[in-house]
Symmetry: C2
Subunit: 337 residues, 2 copies
């Protein structure tokens, strides 16, 4: 698009209003020490000309961009989508903008993104990724200290920046407890085994312990979070001849895949097998049977993480290395009443 019009700058406004640029700047920033009359005149000129101060020039002189970098793994995941929505709202509320970066979980690419964000002089960075995907420690240590960072992933405390996440241990426990009421053999469809400790699977084991039920590895299968993998995991369990009257799938997509496999095998839900998922994705309430699941306050994670990040940026005293844990909620539906 060809640049045709002249640039509209503060000095143009000053000229037009018959004052200095400094006075215009004062009006722009709502400073005192401007005669009401002058202020009004300047405001009129601004309105008449449609002048908009350049945030870029302001950033240069103020040394802050009022921009937050958001590094996320995947947009198609409902989970992250909610975090982003919450983050966006909170950022806006404080006058910040979000710069988007989605990476394909490649450490090299990730480092490159960080560099770019850093060149853009973002005031802080929010990592919104699954806990299994925390990026390489090298990057984090690089970031940490340079620029405020908050993550929504669980990281080993110590070297880690502040984090806001969900109490998945308790969530896993809530899910498993629901299944254990009236049942003893509970299967588990877990995520990839490469993930760190402190998660939904741990909650499953804790709930079993509480109920005095022994952990049985033959009742456990792994998936990769997708519908398909839940389906296959259940087929594997059934193929093994495993006996169980409840299944906990660590996300809803796998739970739905598992239900499909159960139906194909002629098992009724919840009478033959009760099912509990995790996430409360929109379709969970409308699936048949409707899915009992664990709701995570993802939007709130986004809000809280962003608020913490902005605090870290603005407060003189660094309050970094905080860890905030938000609670999950069991949503009872037909699949495990």
């Amino acid at each position: 698009m060809p640049e045709t019009t002249e640039r509209l700058t503060i000095s143009r406004v000053a000229e037009e209003a018959g004052v200095s640029t400094q006075t215009v700047s004062r009006v722009l920033n709502d400073r005192p020490d401007v005669a009401p009359e002058t202020r009004q005149r300047v405001k009129d000129v601004i309105a008449r000309l449609g002048y908009q101060p350049s945030a870029i020039a302001r950033s240069l002189v103020n040394r802050q961009s009022h921009t937050l970098g958001l590094i996320t793994a995947d947009f198609s995941d409902y989970f992250f989508t909610q975090v982003i929505a919450g983050a966006e709202i909170e950022a806006r509320k404080h006058g910040y903008y979000l710069m988007l970066s989605s990476t394909e979980r490649n450490p090299e690419e990730e480092r490159e993104y960080f560099r770019l964000l850093s060149e853009r002089r973002v005031d802080g960075i929010l990592f919104a990724r699954p806990s299994a995907q925390l990026g390489d420690p090298q990057l984090l240590s690089l970031i940490n200290g340079t620029i405020p960072v908050v993550t929504t992933s669980y990281l080993t405390p110590g070297t880690a920046p502040s984090m806001v996440h969900v109490d998945n241990i308790d969530g896993g426990r809530q899910a498993t407890r629901c299944l254990l009421s009236g049942r003893r053999h509970i299967a588990l469809i877990a995520g990839p085994s490469s993930k760190p400790v402190g998660d939904r699977t741990t909650g499953y084991r804790l709930a079993l312990e509480e109920a005095g039920v022994a952990y049985d590895p033959s009742l456990v299968a792994e998936g990769d979070w997708s519908y398909e993998s839940g389906y296959h995991a259940m087929r594997t369990l059934l193929g093994r001849g495993a006996r169980f009257s409840g299944v906990f799938a660590v996300n809803d997509q796998m739970a739905i895949g598992a239900i499909r496999a159960l139906h194909e095998a002629g098992r009724m839900i919840p009478d033959d097998v009760a099912v509990v998922g995790y996430d409360d994705i929109p379709v969970a309430a409308y699936y048949e049977p409707s899915l009992t699941t664990i709701r995570q306050p993802m939007r709130e994670v986004g809000v809280v993480a962003t608020r913490l990040l902005i605090q870290t940026i603005e407060e003189e005293e660094a309050i970094s290395n905080q860890e905030i844990l938000l609670k999950t909620e069991l949503v009872r539906r037909v699949s495990c009443p």
Copy 2:
């Protein structure tokens, strides 16, 4: 976070390398006219110091931010999420960043967002919203001419900026044709009637015409795109005593809600009633019965729209007011084989 370290600027690098800032700038921008030896020395200093040029200062002097504003309505919609993912990838490829703005479809707020984006000196704006929600014309005319804009909504041609969207008329036709093979009475669950012409409903009517079937208003109910509304729309149709052997719901969520109501009424799918949805959301393949639907190339919409926007920004000659229409695809599954 307290500022402790000294700022690392180009002049610091110049000093350290024993050259002028200009030479450093030349190295930074890969310009010729630098002695290989000098170039290497400067590069070494940059690496040693970990210097990162300020994109903000560059933007100020170059008069371009390499940033695109993205205005979207809703993150929880799978549809937009895909557009954003595509846009992000394409933007990145060309060295642009995306600034996120989600609005609650309030014209006033929307204007405010535009102002903010404009102050940030974004190089262009991408509107990713449903066609029914095109923002007020006042805003669009304000934007148009000031800054390059591309939308993914259908807008009345003429005053509108460039747009990239999906051929929903043809999509509606494909869906209805599938239902019409072997059936004659096809119900429709439409979106809110406030929406513009040229959409899925029109395709439905065209397909009926082609098949020589009269349009019957008693076979039409409205929803608001949600699961619930699909459920209620189907209940309304059934309550009317309407007779039909096929239903076209203009999105998958409503289709799933409708299936639920059909099941409750004891109708078998697809034998009693065949169902076709629209969007191919992830759960569509894993619902029971799996849902026949129309797949929209949303990711591609994001990619193409962004490419067009960047072209408009970079080309000398404005190629604005283009309209690009992408084709949909019928995905046959159990609900309408």
